[in-house]
Subunit: 394 residues, 2 copies
Amino acid sequence: MRVESVDFFYVSMPVITLEGDGSQDALLVRVRAGGYEGWGECEASPLTSIAAFVTPPSHGACQPVSAAVLGERIDSPEDISAISTRVKRMSMDLLQAPHTFSGIEIALWDLLGIARGEPVWRLLGFDRPHAKTAYASALFGADPQETFRKGRAFAERGFRAVKFGWGPFGAGTTADDVEQLAAAREAIGWGSRLFVDAGQIWADDPAAALSRVAALEKMNAEWIEEPFGPLQFAESARLAGALSTVGVAAGEASHSEEMAYLLMEHAAVSFVQIDAGRIGGIGPSARVAQRALSRGVTYVNHTFTSHLALAASLAPYAGIAQFDLSEFPAEPKSVAHDITADHLPLVDGRVTLGDAPGLGIRVDLDAIGRYERVVEIVIDGQPVYTSASVEVAA
Amino acid sequence: MRVESVDFFYVSMPVITLEGDGSQDALLVRVRAGGYEGWGECEASPLTSIAAFVTPPSHGACQPVSAAVLGERIDSPEDISAISTRVKRMSMDLLQAPHTFSGIEIALWDLLGIARGEPVWRLLGFDRPHAKTAYASALFGADPQETFRKGRAFAERGFRAVKFGWGPFGAGTTADDVEQLAAAREAIGWGSRLFVDAGQIWADDPAAALSRVAALEKMNAEWIEEPFGPLQFAESARLAGALSTVGVAAGEASHSEEMAYLLMEHAAVSFVQIDAGRIGGIGPSARVAQRALSRGVTYVNHTFTSHLALAASLAPYAGIAQFDLSEFPAEPKSVAHDITADHLPLVDGRVTLGDAPGLGIRVDLDAIGRYERVVEIVIDGQPVYTSASVEVAA
């Protein structure tokens, strides 16, 4: 088979708020080859990622992502890897390229699995998918009372693990954060697992992170996530040294597997969190999972959007029993829910990939049509991009 | 003053070849504030970078670069730094953002220098700009004979230092590269300085780099540049350990100052090469230069486009006498030459920044108009971007 077409579908809520909620839009990718189609999702700015696919070339090492993908052979996992290598070389100087390519790479795995009648986790060499404890991933409330109410609601839905992040956390006083953490813990109870996401809030003030150590330990948080910028390894290692039972978690910003390797080697993280929709897809994610296993670092998916993205982010470590956690978008905006016809069920607080071929998540074309934003890009009067319409997809 | 407007000018040759020649297009940026205007240049995919400026937001940490820039205060270098911090936070998840912002940041320094009647190097705290040995930066010829002819031509133009890179180098046999290196050395003579750029060609085959060590040493190359991908630190350190007189050079891919710091700390580079048009502008470049000085690593600019980009890349280390080298685009395409009215002269094989306010390089509006590519981006029928025309600039 050869890659015949790559189409993007930019969907979004009618209004985008400026809270740290990444489920408000999505960029879906449909790839067709040999009479099959596969779907993927970029965790990325949609318009910018589309531009990186269609931009005119600047030179041989700054070509559009399309140049490395269209027409290429796709008969095996090795072919997907070869296309990834082409993108790295031909779009070397195009910074956005990994974000654009991630959704394409995921769609290629989906397509290959469908063509072979195999789930992606089996193509990756796993015997079976293990159930993962799903942690509800949500924003801190505006105040401790709201955080408490959210935590209670998650517990009632069956979650035994909850992560709070962003919102006011880290931006105010240490005392404010102590109250937020206490509310979170009280809401979910001491028998549930608690995680905290700082959203890089202390990038310019590493000392502020240290002042939260005692409260994080006292509330028995399992990790503090992204306390600093993605490459502030020394600051991360220093914080990790000051923590005892709490680990440092990071990695969602990785836009290459090498970035994740360096993080594990130099930043003293206990948890590496990979978004298949950013790092370049499922192949590099799976290699990071294996490296994590050999280093004694716990691999966790990063997912804040649809269940297509969730399935893609679960596949790379589905068969590794030791990695028993999964981020589970707990309060997605309707667009993130509606664009897929299938959803991974929460059973006894856990989530498991199924046996269906490919990623096992069908998209909902009608819903995509309802949320789609139509993009046109014209250069010198010539159209270089017009959004695919879902009608064509039928 | 407040940032009133930011306009992009995408200029390009009529035909883009796929050789590794980055001078075939450019993305210029004009910033206006308080009745002044400053100009900068992104070393980046133009369409993709424009999209990152105008894209609708995805969420609070994935906002367009425009959101962090327009309307902000710009009265001091600290204000520029504050805008940089805003971009890092508000466009955290927008991978292309540093490439887009780099040209804006450069334009802000130019504008501030013009408003104060001071050259940018003085705003950075330097007493005077030191002359740098300009190395002619060019592609290897298709065969050793062409490389020889190029080298001779550079020597005749007064260059005492030459870098060859890309083209066939590294992709064929070791014997082929031995001949290319010998031709380069013979052409420029043993009294001139020679540098070699591998353009990441051995990213997937680190052993191939080791097989070139003897030839690089024998031909007295001062550095081997980008032998691997930008984050393959272990491979870089291993190669550095195998070299004696030749150093490893890298850093042009740095899209944050943290990335350059990690490179100096973990990759055993002897030379750190920073493109102000990619790393986020002049401010982070200047901090990397100071860090390099304290670590005993040599800082060099990376520049392959216009003299506006050259001036911007020279400013961050202009006053540091120990860093005495400058990459000098030796065979630019006409667009890279024509878009500026001023050019930094080569005097006795050296280049020095001048005393004019700002960056001291005026653009040529007529030339920009001749090379400009007009971009229109429309979402849901609403225009979100239309290229500025140079008429407006007059």
